[in-house]
Symmetry: C2
Subunit: 330 residues, 2 copies
DNA sequence: CTGAAAGCGCTTACAG
DNA sequence: CTGAAAGCGCTTACAG
């Protein structure tokens, strides 16, 4: 039923080896036989079996993407699908395929990584969030299995990664806010375990310091995730202690939560800034300013780094910093 | 380096065939040898190679998901990632894996479907959007390749599919609006080529008819996608012709666009309804009512239908209707 | 430039 | 209950 390389060989009057060589574009094949084989391939509508190739080559040409544990809260956030799109953009152009798995928690994540790698399902892994002391990353390194991290792993030298410069992004915002007169600027972030949270807080601190403003813990709140609840909770906690004129949050959804709390409690008129430049921030009332992290590009570069490594290409850059863009609104 | 079934066989003092039988839980293996083999597997930390298994079995245990062409506009919409999560939920429980591809347009979609199927990369395909006269679906049927459609294909008998009852969802809303006094209800939808658009319009029409209201084309606008632009455009067009007290749209993002236009042009105070129950609608000012289509469930059932078919299970239901829920706000 | 043979790591019908 | 052998559909080192 299924047409194989043998059928093509018979049709073209050559050996299977020759057909295989034509398929892989081997140069030591005469134009003439190449032609014959190509015609036979066309005539029989032959498509090489990807699985058999993988087995013979010991390469799947598949990348495995692990969507991280906290995703459920965050599924409203277009970050993940945009990253997946970016990964896909580069990968398909270079004839790589993509598998994904949704991990319920960190343990689940490890399970999938083991499954994907040890059973030979994929050639490389894309990790979508780095924690400090990340067990998944440790395992992958130990196994010496190719992977790339979107985010900022602790070990920045040997690991492939792509990230924004989150520290300088928040630095820039806070610095500008201070220079335009704001004295009490709040910070509301997600889990402080996440490297991304730490980086963003660091820029906030540094900007204060460089402007001779004393860092005040009472203006900072660490929530659980990139969600509205964190925003509402954070606003409630911070605003009960201090008067703030601006609040920097680490996600548009958090900013939306803050906005909600402020509107409901007559605390409006504050400058609010989020991250990710989502539609939801854009259509808030008032619209929320946001730092665009360019998730598609993050995915694209991650894909590029990993695939280059898999193809054994020399690459000077073991990581990329994707520019952020502060979209000011109102 | 890599430990294979032969190493395990040697370690356990049996043949590779026996190891294979233990792996596949063949019943005709004595408890004793089963024990020996299991110990050897553990000792050597053996993991069977998925690719080799696939080749021998002629089954990949992989499902291919084609994310449709119009997705770029719609990436803000959590629908796709939720569906992917739902598919994953059922699939991983049943030891299936997932590949995805992002299709730029219909032609691209066909290309991926051909690639996935003809090269033997996947056992089944999930299509995320049905058009009328859908070439992808036609091809899959012609090839007799297992697939499931999320949405409502034209051929509802032989094809596996999962959908909401979009017609009755809009019927219910419009009927209730009329009964509570609304006489001029607008309808703003995405491309009318899409089956989902047709179904939603159909429910609107039927509710009018059942309430002895004449259908007026001037109250209906068909845009290009599930996006704000369609909403803004639609609002502009419809509201220049008629006074409307309520507008039913086929997506929260469309409703957001309508809201924007209304707020900016002093046309506020209208009852606005969207689809998908997204965070963005929820945090609009005023919040937008929405019909929750339960995208995770749509994915879950699609996965279930397809996998059951692949496993050769008898199934009476060749399709599922996932309940919608009208989330009323304000 | 081309072919025969062995191999990738499994599975399974056949034989015992 | 278990093993030897052939096979899944490719690739590639070896020989010519």
């Amino acid at each position: 039923m299924k047409v194989t390389i043998r059928d093509v060989a018979k049709e073209a009057g050559v050996s299977p080896s020759t057909v295989s060589r034509v398929l892989s574009n081997n140069e030591r094949i005469s134009q003439e036989t190449k032609q014959k084989v190509k015609e036979a391939i066309k005539k029989l509508n032959f498509k090489p079996n990807a699985i058999a190739r993988s087995l013979a080559n010991n390469k799947t040409h598949i990348l495995g993407i692990i969507l991280p544990n906290e995703i459920e809260n965050t599924f409203a956030n277009p970050f993940f699908i945009q990253v997946m799109q970016g990964i896909s953009l580069y990968a398909t152009q270079h004839h790589y395929y993509l598998m994904y798995a949704v991990a319920k928690d960190k343990k689940d994540e490890l399970k999938y990584v083991k499954d994907f790698t040890l059973n030979g399902r994929v050639d490389g892994i894309v990790i979508l969030k780095a924690e400090s002391q990340d067990h998944t990353i440790e395992l992958l390194k130990e196994m010496n299995f190719p992977f790339v991290v979107i985010g900022h792993p602790e070990d920045t030298d040997t690991t492939l990664w792509v990230d924004n410069d989150n520290e300088s992004a928040t630095y820039q915002v806070v610095d500008e806010l201070i220079k335009s007169g704001h004295k009490h600027i709040g910070f509301i972030g997600a889990k402080i375990d996440w490297v991304v949270s730490k980086d963003r807080l660091e820029g906030y601190k540094k900007a204060l310091r460089d402007n001779q403003i004393v860092y005040d813990e009472a203006l900072v709140y660490h929530g659980t995730g990139f969600d509205e609840r964190t925003g509402e909770e954070g606003a409630k906690v911070l605003l009960s202690k201090k008067e703030l004129t601006a609040i920097l949050t680490t996600d548009d959804l958090i900013a939306v939560g803050v906005n909600l709390y402020c509107n409901e409690n007559g605390k409006d008129g504050k400058v609010l800034i989020g991250f990710n430049n989502t539609v939801i921030g854009q259509y808030q009332n008032p619209p929320i300013s946001s730092i665009d992290i360019q998730a598609v590009k993050l995915g694209w570069y991650a894909s590029k780094l990993l695939i280059n490594q898999l193809e054994g290409k020399e690459q000077k850059n073991k990581h990329y910093i994707v520019e952020t863009e502060w979209i000011k609104r109102k």
